[in-house]
């Protein structure tokens, strides 16, 4: 059975165990469909001021002078903040990189220089949103334009410097060399050489922009941020030292978040500005980012150029290895970077068995928006390279891309499989996923479809994308970039308690943005305690004061099903054990004699002897004198920190296991191209997913749909394009066209479940795998255009004009030489 079945809705009252693996109703939905969710912009406070940032119109310029006097004269204006103040009141954010990147100074507002269009130079606070903007227009800024750098390869030349303190535009560079590349070349029959492949800039552009309402408590020196930061732990680590305060002075509160996809991890610069304003003006201040601001000055996905790609291949299509130069463009400031310079290595060989890989990796700054992790972070770019290589090699050697994949895929029987750089693919069956995808899309009828399209003047193309979604990071990988960094492993927390009236209350360290954590956590708890998910109250959102959290807490990197639910499982098992001890104490039995079912603790041998959870909660919390001495340590409030089994990677060889789980995605697409215009339609689409044990199939399927839609957008129209002056040409949803309902192709979904041997529930993190769609579309276009000059599809984003351009110049940039 490959088709995902229609959702099964469990009756509200049903209390049989075995909820994991079923589609229980989402706890989040009721408030959201009634318009009763609470997003940060819904929070109001008496006397709050609205913040508007004054932003640079220049991509690169000296800030000669900032004059806020006229703004301050306007009635209803509460105050302003400038870069000069920021430079005095804060320290630069810490940088993760080694030099030169380590020397970059990044502040909440531009200090002395602006480095991208939209770079904030000042902030104004007023009594209404409109007034704040009026006042912002009165702030006079004198700029002295500097030459803009919008090309990563030009940036490498260091003729113009973005950051004088660093002395170079290079943030980080290093060579990754695994196996024996030169040996592979010698062994190969053919070397396929690709001059250039370009992974374009885009981002998931969550529909809710970023923002916060910030209150400052003068008495305690504490800031409270009602916000949508998706990773408060790391946010605080950036903000506290900059603000010269302690971590516990920063309280992050979120309930509902309107999507994040990684784009809400790097909000610390804006939030620090808000904190300074709340303290300076002694009133709550509120900032709501605009769509245009999010596009010009928040978080893009990494742009990456691959040069001089060489692939060593046998005549039969056996791949031996590849080498290339990768140039990663992180925009004006590294922020979360240079982590992207290693994250890709989680999937170094992609889905394939080649053992000899050499990548010369350099990351540079340019006068574009800073980047931040974006769904599929850094792996997506690298997997696009590996998938492009497969289809280009197949095309050049006249082989079938299906055969080349099957010949080179890591095989099910090889699992767990150690990659050339020491990562361990936990489980999966790529070839089987491919077969399912081919079946779903009717691959056997391909040639007939081609002829049918030709009869209508169209070019039909077929393409495959097979990718991995690596989840649960070993943060030790950061030491492969910077040996000084003291990060390794990973952790996540949950607490589960039984209250006096029998309520089961769960708090999570994670910060959900639509992934249904309240629901899936309740499923896990219900199965262990023998009750209904409806009896389990999972606190909505995250409050860093009241939700127990650990250093790596947050919602990112495809890991909740492993780390978050691992913590829930651990805490619930502790609570179950305590409940059994209490019941055993009351019955004068052994904990082992007690079973938990139907919301009761009872004697397995005599179910009539039962205490409802309410009774257990009442005894421990309010009537504990009746308890035997040896059970009085019970709190019924259990905390568990899940820590995945990781070792420190080998810094010398850049070798080690960087992630715990690998979910599989194999997608297949059919496109029809109009050769006269370059316009194309995606006429059929199949997505097969394997994320191990599925806790909630409906939620898994929803993640597949969404990730696929985002990647289809990135493959067709979504691109952050700049002109030579550094103006962003797609700053809004007019010119940055995301898929609308009519743009989406029919989607056929299939799945298999290859349980992970390494995780508490056999589940794998998932949700970031949609990059497969970019590869599938690029491959399908390549296939469709073959009869018309066989051009090389060398961009990841291929809008109509790009396809038309391929058809005009038939640009190749690829050659095959005998080794």
């Amino acid at each position: 059975m490959t088709e995902v079945q229609e959702p099964l809705v469990v009756e509200e009252t049903e209390t049989k165990p075995g909820f994991v693996g079923t589609n229980v109703p989402r706890k989040e939905d009721k408030r959201l469909v009634q318009g009763q969710g609470v997003f940060f912009d819904d929070v109001k406070r008496h006397g709050m001021g609205y913040v508007h940032f004054v932003r640079s119109p220049y991509a690169h310029a000296k800030v000669v002078h900032v004059d806020v006097s006229k703004a301050l004269e306007l009635g209803g204006v509460f105050g302003t903040l400038t870069g000069d103040e920021v430079a005095i009141l804060t320290d630069p954010f810490f940088e993760l990189s080694t030099p030169p990147g380590a020397h970059i100074k990044d502040y909440a507002l531009a200090v002395g220089r602006v480095r991208h269009v939209g770079d904030p130079v000042a902030a104004v606070v007023a009594s209404s949103r409109e007034l704040a903007r009026d006042a912002a227009e009165l702030v006079e800024v004198e700029y002295e334009p500097l030459p803009p750098l919008t090309d990563a390869e030009q940036a490498l030349e260091d003729e113009t410097l973005l950051h004088d303190d660093a002395g170079s535009n290079v943030v980080w560079s290093g060579v990754f060399d695994w196996g024996d590349w030169d040996g592979a070349k010698a062994e190969a029959d053919k070397i396929v050489k690709i001059d250039r492949l370009h992974f374009d800039r885009f981002s998931s552009t969550p529909l809710e922009c970023s923002g916060a309402l910030v209150e400052y408590n003068r008495g305690t020196g504490q800031w409270t941020m009602y916000c949508n930061h998706q990773m408060p732990g790391i946010g605080a680590i950036w903000m506290a030292p900059a603000l010269r305060t302690g971590l516990d002075k920063l309280r992050f509160v979120t309930q509902d978040i309107g999507g994040a996809f990684g784009n809400k991890i790097c909000l610390h610069p804006q939030f620090v500005a808000l904190c300074l304003l709340a303290r300076k003006l002694n009133r709550p201040v509120q900032w709501t980012e605009w769509r245009t601001d999010q596009h010009t000055a928040n978080a893009h996905g990494n742009e990456r150029i691959f040069r001089d790609v060489e692939v060593a291949v046998k005549a039969d299509g056996t791949l031996l290895g590849f080498s290339c130069r990768a140039i990663d463009d992180c925009g004006a400031f590294p922020r979360y970077e240079p982590l992207g310079c290693i994250i890709w290595a989680q999937v170094t060989p992609g889905c394939y068995r080649w053992r000899n890989i050499r990548v010369d990796f350099t990351q540079v700054c340019t006068n574009k928006s800073p980047v931040s992790p974006n769904r599929g972070y850094s792996r997506m770019q690298h997997l696009w390279l590996t998938e492009r290589i497969i289809d280009i090699v197949a095309n050049e050697l006249g082989l079938d891309p299906v055969d080349v994949r099957k010949r080179n895929y890591v095989r099910a029987e090889d699992m767990p499989y150690e990659t050339p750089n020491g990562c361990v693919y936990d489980s999966g069956d790529y070839a089987r996923c491919l077969d399912i995808a081919l079946e779903l899309i009717g691959h056997e009828g391909l040639e007939a479809k081609r002829r049918d399209a030709e009869s209508r003047g169209k070019l039909l193309g077929f393409g495959i994308g097979s990718t991995l979604d690596s989840g649960t990071n070993n943060f030790g990988q950061s030491t492969l970039l910077n040996p000084e960094l003291q990060f390794s492993g990973n952790n996540e927390v949950a607490t589960v308690k039984l209250d006096i009236f029998g309520e089961i209350v769960v708090t999570l360290g994670t910060v959900p943005q639509g992934q249904g954590h309240e629901t899936t956590a309740a499923q896990v708890v219900a199965d262990i305690l023998g009750c209904s998910p409806d009896d389990v109250h999972v606190r909505a959102g995250h409050d860093s004061y009241w939700n127990s959290h650990a250093g790596f807490s947050g919602t990112y990197a495809s890991q909740f099903a492993v780390t978050g639910l691992g913590a829930v499982k651990g805490a619930t098992e502790r609570l179950a054990e305590e409940i059994k001890r209490v019941a055993a104490g009351v019955f004068g039995a052994e904990p082992a004699d007690i079973e938990l079912a139907e919301g009761q603790a009872r004697l397995a041998a005599n179910p009539e002897a039962a205490i409802p959870f309410m009774g257990i909660g009442a005894i421990v919390n309010a009537n504990n004198a009746i308890l035997p001495e040896d059970v009085r340590d019970v709190t019924l409030n259990c905390r568990y920190v899940y820590v995945p089994p990781f070792q420190l990677p080998d810094k010398e060889r850049k070798f080690g296991n960087l992630t715990l789980t690998y979910a599989t995605q194999v997608h297949a697409a059919l496109v029809e191209v109009d050769p006269e215009t370059g316009v194309y339609d995606i006429v059929d689409y199949a997505a097969v997913d394997d994320c191990g044990k599925r806790i909630h199939p409906q939620i898994v399927e929803g993640q597949v749909h969404g990730a696929t839609a985002q990647a289809l957008g990135a493959a067709t129209h979504e691109i952050f394009a700049y002109d030579e002056e550094g103006n962003l040409l797609t700053p809004n949803f007019y010119d940055y066209h995301v898929p609308h309902a009519l743009d989406m192709p029919p989607m056929r979904n299939g799945y298999i479940e290859s349980a992970s041997p390494f995780t508490p529930l056999g589940a794998k993190g998932m949700g970031e795998g949609g990059g497969a769609a970019i590869h599938a579309i690029c491959a399908a276009l390549q296939d469709a255009l073959r009869p018309r000059g066989n051009p090389l599809v060398w961009r990841s984003c291929n809008p109509y004009h790009q396809v038309w351009q391929y058809l005009q110049d038939g640009k190749r940039g690829v050659e095959v030489v005998d080794a």
Partner: protein
């Protein structure tokens, strides 16, 4: 964005040169000029409201004559400042004796527009610039006629 072209005036080169170097006359060639003041013979400032149908884009533009070789070459820099838009333009004129005592003018302009208008209005900016340039040239023609009539 670069725009360039040629224009023939039925007036002697000296007259065309004179018009191109007379701020008062030049002012009359620019669209939507609300005020114009000459600081010295090389620097002028104009406050303009570029007529966009939806309500005009206000800008103050500083002109600086950065190069001239009488009577055949002049180069002008313009730096405009308005809400939502910053304009930088360099424009050069080459004058040569044309047929029948007329004057041929070869001109090129490099217009750079930054700010929200610069990025949001891409698809409309080029047509607008082309159109404004056309109007400026027609107005210039009229000024040349007037000047040669005097």
């Amino acid at each position: 964005m670069r725009v360039e072209g040629t224009r023939t005036f039925s007036a002697p080169r000296a007259t065309v040169w004179q018009v191109l170097n007379d701020p008062e006359r030049l002012a009359k060639t620019m669209p939507g000029v609300e005020s114009f003041d000459v600081r010295d013979e090389r620097n002028w400032r104009a406050n303009v409201k570029i007529p966009l149908g939806l309500g005009g884009l206000r800008m103050s533009i500083d002109f600086t004559k950065i190069e001239e070789r009488e009577p055949e070459f002049a180069k002008l820099a313009a730096k405009g400042n308005g809400v939502g838009a910053i304009m930088n333009m360099e424009t050069a004129f080459h004058l040569s004796e044309g047929a029948a005592g007329g004057t041929d003018m070869k001109w090129e302009a490099d217009v750079k527009i930054a700010g929200p208008v610069g990025s949001m209005g891409q698809r409309v900016l080029q047509p607008i610039v082309n159109q404004q340039v056309g109007q400026v040239l027609n107005a210039l023609d009229r000024q040349v006629q007037e000047a040669s009539a005097e």
